[in-house]
């Protein structure tokens, strides 16, 4: 592999890592705050891609879809939290797992019913349809857009979570939800907001993934496994961990696929196993008690 190939793969890995970050950040905050293992989180990614597909068809604009699809998915997320998950918070984890596992099938069937089961390609924006020369090699402009856009979202999220009052409420809730309520904060509304926000980010990930990875009903359950690995590697409830884990797993899977196609998935499991072996709480998670 030449250095130019290496660079190309690294950029591919970065674009994939950015998609994983948008997915995992919501999952990790939901885990950390609500103690809910939301297996349907990947479905929000899939719904984002299909909402994007529908909105591009309706509006003719990728950019309109980029803005509106996450809103649609966020509303779906809020409804799921209010109607399905809320009654289960005090129940055993297995009940939540069963419910969210069931939601995966529900959402897949809804999408099959509307769009059919086959793979649909999603047109990217005309603005980034070309390619950019980097070190003499052509690299799709759209992927560069995904990288810059995703990292910009990461910066904005970091500013919101670390520098605003809303962010301090979210961090407090992740640390100790009961005590946050004890300070007079309506933690139920925060739960709904975080769940909806996480769903919207997953939806955003789905829309921007569309032109690279297409849209198909099983895409959500496929990426869920990788996203769960990211969360374990990065550490529960940590924004920094989510970013670091996404970038690491994005590179590991991309280089794995390039070098050892048969064992690409194995490599990310090895990375996870090593992290868990030496740091059971993940790279930036709080120490296990």
């Amino acid at each position: 592999m030449t250095p130019v190939d290496l660079l190309g793969q690294a950029l591919n890995g970065l674009a994939y890592g950015v998609l994983l970050f948008l997915l995992s950040v919501g999952l990790t905050l939901i885990f950390g705050m609500l103690d809910v293992v939301n297996l349907a989180h990947g479905s929000f990614y899939m719904l984002g891609a299909f909402a994007g597909l529908g909105l591009i068809a309706a509006t003719g604009s990728f950019w309109a879809a980029l803005v509106l699809a996450p809103v649609v998915v966020g509303v779906v997320g809020a409804l799921v939290e209010r109607t399905c998950l809320r009654p289960l918070y005090r129940r055993a984890v297995l009940d939540q797992v069963l419910l969210t596992f069931g939601l995966i099938y529900l959402f897949e069937d809804v999408v099959k019913w509307i769009w059919g089961g086959r793979i649909r390609s999603i047109p990217g924006p005309a603005l980034f349809s070309g390619s950019v020369k980097i070190a003499g090699a052509a690299f799709p402009a759209y992927r560069l857009f995904v990288i810059v856009f995703g990292l910009a979202i990461a910066v904005v999220l970091w500013l919101v979570i670390e520098r605003t009052r809303l962010g301090s409420i979210v961090r407090a809730g992740v640390w100790d939800a009961e005590m946050t309520a004890g300070m007079g904060i309506d933690i139920d509304r925060v739960f709904t907001g975080v769940f909806a926000g996480g769903a919207a980010l997953a939806g955003l990930s789905g829309v921007i993934a569309g032109p690279i990875r297409s849209a198909y009903p099983a895409m959500g359950s496929e990426i869920l496994v990788v996203t769960l690995i990211v969360v374990v590697v990065g550490g529960l409830g940590s924004l920094k961990g989510s970013l670091a884990g996404s970038l690491i797993i994005g590179q590991a899977e991309t280089f794995g696929k390039a070098w050892l196609p048969e064992t690409a998935m194995l490599i990310i499991y090895v990375v996870m196993a090593l992290v868990v072996l030496f740091r059971p709480q993940g790279l930036f998670g709080r120490p296990l008690r």
Partner: protein, 233 residues
């Protein structure tokens, strides 16, 4: 002010509080004593809405609060300094203080400046993470954080737990000062001298029931109650 009337509280199926009644009057400091596992923390958790009672009533300023969610109870003016302090470790000291702050504009209200004047150490550490503070500093932050909500009654659950004697004296000084200002206090303690120093009235709990109610002097003179329920003599 605060009236707990014949409450029964459960954790799942285990029955923890049996028919517990207790009152805190306006401007009054009340101590609740008892051994580990007597049900003192459960009582506090019942009052603030963390573990609502299954039966009985809790009124605050005449209003029933035992069916309200915890954040509504807090907003009515019950300030909690919880067992184990429960500082938000990922938040800075200033963020911990700001989280529940309200009512700062009223005359004589608790503001950040006023709590910093009460606990100068917190001003020095304002930008530091709550998790980096020492145990004593965390306790001061827990008290300051509750004061920032401008509570109408202050509930403290074992504020002396795990702290050095000099810090316990400091906490005692602050509680006496708060009482002088007229802030009603319900103090759960195992530290008998601290409770005697602060309280106007005392209750003793054992196995989820109130077994003694009276004055600090009366309890101090009652060797039988002290030996049986507090393990002091």
């Amino acid at each position: 002010m605060l009236e707990v009337e014949r409450i029964q509280t459960f954790y799942g199926e285990s029955h923890v509080l049996h028919d517990v009644s207790l009152t805190v009057g306006a401007g009054e400091a009340v101590a609740l004593l008892g051994r580990n596992g007597a049900g003192k923390t459960t009582l506090i958790r019942s009052v603030v809405g963390f573990t609502p009672p299954r039966q009985g009533r809790i009124r605050f300023e005449g209003r029933e609060i035992h069916r309200l969610p915890a954040h509504r109870v807090a907003r009515l003016g019950l300030g909690l300094v919880p067992q184990g302090r429960r500082i938000f470790a990922p938040l800075s000291v200033a963020e911990n203080l700001a989280l529940g702050a309200r009512g700062e504009a009223a005359p004589g209200a608790w503001t950040r400046e006023r709590v910093y004047a009460l606990f100068p150490r917190l001003r020095e550490r304002a930008a530091q993470g709550g998790g980096t503070l020492s145990g004593g500093e965390q306790q001061m932050l827990a008290v300051a954080r509750a004061l920032m909500t401008n509570p109408r009654v202050l509930l403290l659950d074992e504020p002396s737990e795990g702290l050095a004697p000099i810090v316990v004296r400091e906490i005692g000084r602050v509680l006496v000062a708060l009482k002088r200002e007229g802030l009603p206090i319900l103090l759960v303690e195992q530290n008998f001298p601290l409770a005697l120093r602060v309280a106007d009235r005392v209750y003793v709990m054992n196995k989820g029931q109130i077994v003694y109610a009276g004055t600090p002097a009366g309890l101090d003179a009652d060797e039988d109650v002290k030996r049986r329920f507090l393990g002091v003599s």
